[in-house]
């Protein structure tokens, strides 16, 4: 059948119970909200008829219109008009492409849906063609590791994590990091993220620290998370979730970067001992990597500035200030 003539197929009334309501091999919808579609159909009826194809056991498989069918089912409809294609009229790849183009024309696919498309395409299309043509269609770089990641996202990632991702509560980078972990570790870390509601930046830090510590200490995630100080934070009734998140990250950072944290602590301690004029601040460069420290003085006029400079130059302990890993001069 000429795929261009698909719109010429006349609709027939079909029993909804005869349509398979699993997404099937051609549909690529994930993490959607039916409410607005239900409202629309309720108000003005079904405008575009779903396209279905005959499959085994006299059931029909959805090619396009999967969400519309779910919406109609939720409205309690029993029969709906559909355009029906026989199995011999379209190849599986053509069905898949019909759905893909139908979706691409009307909305932006989320990351999981992109994974669904790519995973399904691999069954019928050579990898080079997917890389050259379809990655670009999906707005992705034609890059083998990217393709591999999206396929794994669809095929290996747990549904609850996918949902968190498409809701924008988990970054794609964190999803990648989680996907590279053992399933058990992934579960535990995800539970921690979702229970304490780590934000996007905090998630990345958490996964990074835990992943490193698992390797460095040769411990499992559950062994790490069972450590006394972390358990105390988790069960700390006086802390709210944001405070718990901060405390967890601080504990893990101290464990992962003992020298850095110790240097920061020493620096803060040395600064706190100084008698600095009000409105003055001494800051270290990030990670003490750049050679220079910074002094900030807030003043309202030259007279006040002069006073503050005199105050500063009278502070003898300033001479001891330097890299915190060195003994004071």
């Amino acid at each position: 059948m000429d795929i261009q003539k698909i719109t010429e197929v006349s609709p027939h009334l079909v029993d909804l119970e005869n349509i398979d309501d699993c997404p099937g091999p051609y549909c690529m919808s994930f993490g959607f909200d039916l409410k607005s579609l239900v409202r629309s159909i309720k108000s003005i009826g079904l405008i575009n008829y779903p396209l279905v194809i005959e499959s085994r056991n006299a059931m029909l498989t959805v090619i396009t219109g999967y969400r519309r069918i779910l919406a109609l089912k939720s409205l309690g409809r029993e029969k709906i008009p559909c355009r029906i294609i026989s199995k011999s009229q379209l190849s599986p790849l053509e069905c898949l492409l019909l759905n893909l183009h139908d979706n691409l024309a009307t909305r932006k696919l989320n990351e999981v849906e992109k994974g669904m498309v790519l995973s399904r395409l691999t069954r019928w299309t050579p990898k080079t063609k997917i890389l050259e043509k379809y990655m670009q269609l999906l707005g992705l770089p034609s890059h083998d590791p990217t393709l591999h990641f999206y396929i794994r996202l669809e095929e290996e990632m747990e549904k609850e994590i996918k949902e968190y991702l498409v809701q924008g509560r988990l970054s794609l980078q964190s999803a990648k990091m989680l996907l590279d972990m053992e399933q058990d570790a992934r579960h535990q870390i995800f539970n921690l993220i979702s229970n304490l509601k780590f934000n996007i930046n905090q998630q990345k830090q958490l996964i990074d620290y835990l992943n490193d510590l698992i390797h460095i200490n040769n411990k499992s995630t559950s062994q790490l998370l069972k450590e006394g100080p972390l358990q105390a934070i988790f069960s700390g009734g006086q802390l709210n979730n944001p405070q718990k998140v901060k405390a967890v990250l601080h504990f893990l950072r101290t464990k992962r970067f003992p020298s850095v944290v110790s240097a920061e602590r020493t620096f803060r301690k040395r600064i706190s001992r100084l008698d600095l004029p009000e409105g003055s601040r001494i800051a270290a460069p990030p990670f003490f990597e750049a050679p220079n420290y910074r002094l900030e003085v807030i003043f309202k006029d030259g007279k006040e500035l002069k006073e503050k400079i005199e105050h500063l130059s009278a502070e003898r302990r300033l001479e001891d200030l330097g890299d915190p890993w060195k003994d004071p001069a």
């Binding site: 590279d180 020298s259 850095v260 990670f287 990597e289 750049a290 050679p291 890299d323 890993w325």
Partner: protein, 356 residues
């Protein structure tokens, strides 16, 4: 294992007709070769990919202005390497892991020489070991046969062949010695055994170095990347003991020290390709150039320890730091070239001193 195993040769269209292509194929009897197609599957470290390179063959080392760079020139003879070091930055540089050899080098070397000969007052320190190992596939490419005599004749250039292998046969067969530096990347025995997969053992590397030295070659060494690991001081001392056993320090032009640094994108690649590695265990911070590097006092400790013990061996080894800041130089080596120009002068002077 140091012998490079090739099981397939892919030839890009532009690579046919070059004499080097024919010679490489003739050196691999029984190995299938085929034209490269776009969807060529199964490429990897055992696939030799011959191509005519369209870019510049001589490039400055991609140093960053935030740290002091040695001003090295890279002669780009190919990319990737049959060795599989867990820390290798090439893992994130290039998409394809196959061994790419630029078969038009023989035709293009003239342009490189024009650049060198056109600036007789400048010293060109040139190396082939930045994007590949200089000698790992030399038995197949024979690059040393061509490059050694060419560079040996020049008074304002040196050629450094840097390797982790013991593949020195072709180098030793050369009649030229002047202006050629054969260098080895060294590490602790632990890192060499656990992280430098497919590279020669330290003993074999240093035996090869000793052999080159006894045959009249000047040597260089590169402790890069230095990696703190359990008992690293004792481990690096073992390497220094081996150096003392096989090499005369008076014939060394320079020894560089660099600590492990990497673009953040490399981390997941290393984790995936080398799950047992220890190279990611250190305390890394984001450096001024955006690369991950060890927290400064850790780097200073590494360099200061190496300096102290290398200088006990010999006081004039041409020690220098690779991509470090002025204060790290001062605090670890006790002096600083201040900037890239200063380090260039220092190394150029080493060239003048050694190749009088």
């Amino acid at each position: 294992m140091t012998r490079c195993k090739i099981n397939k040769v892919l030839v890009e269209e532009g690579a046919y007709g070059h004499a080097l292509t024919d010679r490489i194929i003739s050196r691999l009897p029984g190995i299938p070769f085929q034209p490269l197609k776009n969807d060529e599957p199964g490429t990897g470290k055992e696939t030799l990919h011959l191509l005519s390179y369209k870019g510049e063959f001589l490039k400055s080392c991609p140093g960053t202005r935030e740290y002091i760079c040695c001003g090295y020139q890279i002669l780009n003879v190919g990319t990737n390497c049959p060795l599989d070091c867990s820390y290798c930055i090439l893992q994130s540089y290039f998409n394809q892991p196959n061994l790419r050899v630029f078969v038009n080098l023989e035709e293009e070397i003239e342009r490189v020489l024009e650049i060198i000969d056109g600036q007789p007052e400048r010293i060109f320190r040139v190396g082939t070991g930045e994007f590949t190992d200089s000698l790992a596939i030399d038995p197949i490419t024979g690059f040393s046969d061509m490059l050694i005599p060419i560079f040996s004749r020049r008074k304002n250039a040196v050629l450094e062949l840097k390797t982790k292998t013991g593949q020195i046969e072709r180098v030793l067969n050369s009649k030229s010695r002047d202006r050629i530096i054969v260098s080895w990347s060294l590490n602790s025995p632990y890192i060499a055994a656990h992280e430098e997969h497919r590279a020669a053992s330290l003993k074999k590397r240093l035996e090869a170095a000793g052999q080159c030295q006894s045959e009249g070659f000047i040597l260089g060494f590169h402790f890069d990347p230095l990696i703190p690991h359990p008992h690293w001081e004792d481990e690096y001392l073992k390497t220094l003991e081996l150096m003392d056993k096989y090499v005369d320090p008076k014939g060394i032009i320079w020894i560089s020290l660099g600590s492990f640094r990497f673009m953040p994108e490399l981390k997941p690649i290393i984790r995936k390709r080398h799950p047992q590695t220890c190279v990611l265990n250190g305390e890394f911070i984001v450096g001024l150039d955006g690369k991950m590097r060890y927290f400064k006092p850790i780097r200073i400790d590494l360099y200061a320890f190496m300096r102290e013990n290398l200088e006990k061996w010999h006081p004039n080894l041409g020690l220098y730091l690779c991509m470090e800041s002025d204060d790290v130089w001062q605090n670890s080596l006790g002096w600083s070239p201040k900037n890239t120009l200063g380090l260039r002068r220092y190394l150029d002077n080493r060239v003048v001193e050694i190749f009088k």
